[in-house]
C-alpha cells in the first residue's frame, strides 16, 4: 500500500493497520532526514497548512509546526484567544474564512470531542486532529507506538499498560485503538473514579493496583492527571494519588523484569512519575518527543500527497 485509506487523520479508529505501517515506514525515512545536518526536504513547497489551536498547547503545536517546516510547507498559526471565536463566530465559519485564503490542510486542536469529524463534513480541506477533547489524539498514539516499535522491535504481542486519568484522556483512547490494531494487549490502570465505567467493553484489561499492572506489562505509559479537565474532585489529594499510582524507582526495581516507561508529557514530576524514573534508562520519554516530529512529518506528507492527486 502506498497511500493512506483516509483523506483526514481524525482518529486512530478510522485507520486500518496498513495505514499505521505506512506512516511508520514513512516516518523511518523522515527520522533519518531530521538527523541530517540539513534537516529539511522540499516535499511540500506548494502546500499551505493552518495550525488551528482552539485549546492551549505548547509541545504538540511546536512539534507540528516543526514537522511542517521540515517539509517546506507554508505555515500559518491561529489560536482561539486571538480570534473571532470569542466574538461568537461558528467553527465552520472561522475555518472557512481561513481556507478561503487558499489553505490546503488544517491541523486542529479543539476542546470538544468530534470537532474534527464535524468539520470534515462541512469543509473542503484535509484535516489532522491534534486532539479533540477526550476523544482522540492520533499522532500522539502513532508516535507512542512508533517509539515502542523502535525500542522493542515490534508492537504486536506486547503488553502495554496505560496508567492514570483514563476518563479525561484522548491519549489513552487513541493509544488503546492503535495498540489493539497492531496486535498488542492493553491494560488501563488508575483509580476507579478516573476509569470510564464501560472501558472494559473496548477489550482492555482493567486494573486498579499499580504494582500488579506493572508486573504484567512490557511498557507502562504514564498519563498526566488533567486537573484542568476536572470540574469535580476525583481523588482526595495529589499526595494520595501518588501513593497509589505514582511510579518511583523503588517500585520499578522491585519488579521481576525491566519495563519501558513512557509519558506523553508534560510530566508532573513527583506526581505520576518521579524524576529518577523519568530520567532513567528505562524511560523513552525524550525519544517519544523526537519521534513525534517524524511521525507528524509522515502523516502530513501522506495526506498532502492525496491532495496533490
Amino acid at each position: 500500500m502506498s497511500e493512506l485509506s483516509v483523506n483526514h487523520l481524525l482518529g486512530i479508529k478510522y485507520l486500518k493497520e496498513q495505514d499505521i505501517q505506512l506512516i511508520f515506514e514513512t516516518a523511518d525515512h523522515f527520522k533519518e532526514v531530521i538527523n541530517r545536518p540539513i534537516k529539511k526536504v522540499p516535499s511540500l513547497r506548494d502546500i499551505t497548512i493552518a495550525n488551528l489551536f482552539f485549546e492551549n498547547s505548547t509541545r504538540t503545536k511546536l512539534s507540528f509546526e516543526l514537522a511542517e517546516k521540515r517539509l517546506s510547507a507554508d505555515v500559518i498559526n491561529f489560536s482561539s484567544g486571538q480570534s473571532s471565536v470569542k466574538k461568537g463566530e461558528t467553527l465552520i465559519d472561522t475555518v472557512n474564512n481561513i481556507l478561503s485564503m487558499k489553505v490546503d490542510m488544517v491541523v486542529m486542536r479543539h476542546p470538544n470531542p468530534g470537532a474534527g469529524v464535524f468539520l470534515s463534513k462541512h469543509i473542503n480541506a484535509s484535516i489532522i486532529n491534534a486532539g479533540d477533547g477526550a476523544h482522540e489524539h492520533p499522532t500522539q498514539a502513532l508516535l507512542d507506538s512508533y517509539s515502542i516499535r523502535e525500542k522493542l522491535g515490534d508492537v504486536s504481542g506486547k503488553k502495554v499498560v496505560i496508567v492514570g486519568d483514563i476518563l479525561h484522556s484522548r491519549v489513552a483512547l487513541s493509544n488503546i485503538f492503535a495498540l489493539q490494531l497492531q496486535g498488542a494487549q492493553v491494560m488501563v490502570c488508575g483509580p476507579k473514579t478516573l476509569l470510564p465505567k464501560h472501558i472494559g467493553d473496548l477489550g482492555v484489561k482493567v486494573e486498579t493496583n499499580l504494582r500488579k499492572a506493572l508486573n504484567w506489562c512490557d511498557v507502562a505509559n504514564m498519563l498526566r492527571v488533567q486537573n484542568e479537565r476536572m470540574n469535580i474532585s476525583y481523588f482526595p489529594s495529589t499526595r494520595e494519588y501518588t501513593q497509589q499510582f505514582g511510579v518511583n524507582k523503588e517500585l520499578l526495581d522491585s519488579l521481576d523484569k525491566e519495563i519501558t516507561i513512557m509519558h506523553p508529557g508534560p510530566i508532573n514530576r513527583g506526581v505520576e512519575i518521579t524524576s529518577d524514573v523519568a530520567d532513567s534508562k528505562q524511560s523513552i520519554i525524550l525519544e517519544q518527543v523526537q519521534n513525534g516530529v517524524a511521525i507528524r512529518m509522515a502523516a502530513i506528507y501522506l495526506l498532502a500527497s492525496k491532495i496533490k492527486q
Partner: protein, 418 residues
C-alpha cells in the same frame, strides 16, 4: 362543517364499527350517520381517498412550539399546522418558551393564540417560577386558566422537598405534576448515554442511573404525598420496572416514552451527528426492548414525539454545544408503524387523553367528530420534504417509515393535506 367520508376503514376498538369499512356523514362537527353506503344528498364536501383508514384523533403529550421567545424555531400557528398535517387533533404544549409559561396570563396567551383551530392545544404550565426549580409557580391560577399539567420542561426538580410540596399542593385541585426523570448531579455534563459508544467517542456519559434515581425518588415521594404524578419520557429498562412496581401498588403515576427512544440506540451517535442528540439520550437495545414491553403491558401509558424544533444554528455546531431535541410530529405515525402493528399504533396514539383533561370521542353516531384520516400501508424514506416544521432537525431523516396521514377532522373543522 359538513362532510361525507367515503369508504373509510374504521380502526377504533371503542367503536361498534371497529374494523369495518363504512361511509360517514359528519354534520356540524358531529357524526350523524355511519353506514355501508351514504348518498350525498346535500352535496356536502366528499372525501374519497386511497386505502382510507380513520381512527379517533391522535394525541401527543409533549410538544414545543417555540412561541413566545423562540419564534426562530417554531410558532404556535405553524406548530398547529404541523400537528394537523401529522394527524394529531390534540397536543400538550410544554413551557419550553422564553419567558416560560408560569402564570395565568401566559396560559391565556397560548389559549388565545391557538383558539379556533382544528387542533386542540393544551398548555402545560411551568411547575416553578421561571422554571428555575426554586419556588412553586401559581399552579391553581394556571389551572383555572386551562393549564392541563405542570412541568419544568426537561429540567429536574433537584430539591426533593419542593417536589413533595408540589405533589401535595396540586392534589388540592387534582392537578397533574410532571417530573423530568434525571438526577442532575449524577448526569453531570453528560451529553449522551454512558456506554461503550460514549467511551469510544470521548463524549461525557449520562448514565441510566441518573434517570432511575430520580424515578425512584419521585415514586417514594408520591407514595408519601398522594396526588397525581406524570413522568415524561422515561428511557431505561429499570425505569420501566420501577413504574411497573409502583402501578402494582396503585400509585397514581403515569409515564411516557419518546418514539425515538423506542427506535434508535446510542450506537447511531458514532459519527457525532447532532440530530441524534436528544434528552433523555438514546440508550441501549436492552432499554429499547424494555420500553416496548412496557408499552405492550401498559406500564408506559403513552408515547410522544417529544417534538422540539431547534434551529440549524443550534444544531450545526460541535456536539457538546448543540441543543438537545428533535422534531417528531411529522414522523410519529410512520415511525410507530415501523415498530408496531397498525392496530397497536392507533391504540398508542389515542391513549393518555384523559390524563391531560381531554375527552375521548369514539367513532360512533352522535359523537363529536374527532378523527384522524390515514393510509397505513404506504412505505417511504422520511426526508426534508416530509417536514412542515419551521426547524428541520429531524432524527428520523433517511429512515424507512410506513404509513401516511391524510389529515384530521376535529373541533368542527377539516384539515386535509394537499
Amino acid at each position: 362543517m359538513n362532510i361525507l367520508i367515503k369508504s373509510a376503514t374504521i380502526i377504533d376498538s371503542k367503536s361498534e364499527f371497529h374494523n369495518k369499512t363504512q361511509d360517514l356523514l359528519i354534520e356540524n362537527g358531529k357524526i350523524s350517520k355511519i353506514a355501508t353506503k351514504i348518498k350525498n344528498t346535500n352535496n356536502y364536501q366528499e372525501v374519497k381517498l386511497d386505502n382510507l383508514h380513520i381512527s379517533q384523533g391522535w394525541f401527543d403529550s409533549s410538544v414545543c412550539f417555540g412561541e413566545p421567545g423562540f419564534e426562530e424555531r417554531e410558532t404556535i400557528k405553524n406548530g398547529l399546522k404541523t400537528a394537523a398535517s401529522a394527524g394529531f387533533t390534540a397536543a400538550a404544549l410544554n413551557a419550553n418558551t422564553y419567558p416560560v409559561l408560569d402564570s395565568n396570563s401566559d396560559i391565556t396567551f397560548v389559549n388565545t393564540k391557538s383558539h379556533n383551530n382544528a387542533v386542540s392545544l393544551l398548555p402545560i404550565g411551568s411547575l416553578t417560577l421561571g422554571g428555575k426549580g426554586e419556588d412553586l409557580a401559581e399552579l391553581y391560577d394556571m389551572h383555572s386558566a386551562g393549564a392541563v399539567a405542570f412541568y419544568d420542561y426537561k429540567k429536574p426538580i433537584s430539591n426533593p422537598n419542593l417536589m413533595k410540596i408540589a405533589l401535595q399542593y396540586a392534589s388540592n385541585f387534582d392537578g397533574l405534576v410532571c417530573s423530568f426523570p434525571q438526577e442532575s448531579k449524577i448526569s453531570g455534563h453528560g451529553v449522551m448515554n454512558e456506554n461503550i459508544t460514549s467511551t469510544s467517542l470521548g463524549l461525557k456519559g449520562n448514565p441510566a442511573l441518573a434517570e432511575e434515581l430520580q424515578v425512584a425518588r419521585d415514586l417514594f415521594l408520591l407514595e408519601y404525598t398522594g396526588g397525581k404524578l406524570h413522568i415524561p419520557t422515561i428511557s431505561t429498562a429499570t425505569s420501566v420496572a420501577l413504574i411497573r412496581e409502583a402501578k402494582k401498588k396503585k400509585l397514581d403515576v403515569t409515564c411516557s416514552a419518546a418514539i425515538h427512544n423506542l427506535y434508535f440506540t446510542d450506537t447511531v451517535l458514532k459519527d457525532f451527528n447532532t440530530h441524534f442528540k436528544v434528552l433523555p439520550p438514546l440508550r441501549t437495545q436492552e432499554d429499547v426492548d424494555a420500553l416496548i414491553e412496557g408499552i405492550k403491558d401498559s406500564t408506559i401509558d403513552m408515547v410522544t414525539s417529544d417534538h422540539n424544533p431547534i434551529d440549524i444554528e443550534q444544531k450545526k455546531i460541535e456536539f457538546d454545544h448543540a441543543e438537545y431535541g428533535t422534531i417528531g410530529l411529522e414522523s410519529a405515525f410512520g415511525a410507530l408503524q415501523a415498530i408496531f402493528s397498525t392496530k397497536k399504533t392507533i391504540d398508542i396514539l389515542t391513549k393518555g387523553k384523559t390524563r391531560f383533561a381531554l375527552e375521548q370521542a369514539p367513532i360512533n353516531i352522535g359523537n363529536k367528530a374527532n378523527i384522524t384520516l390515514f393510509n397505513p400501508d404506504t412505505k417511504y424514506s422520511f426526508s426534508q420534504n416530509n417536514i412542515v416544521s419551521k426547524s428541520k432537525n429531524a432524527i428520523f431523516e433517511g429512515e424507512a417509515l410506513k404509513g401516511t396521514v391524510y389529515g384530521i377532522i376535529s373541533n368542527n373543522k377539516v384539515s386535509l393535506n394537499k
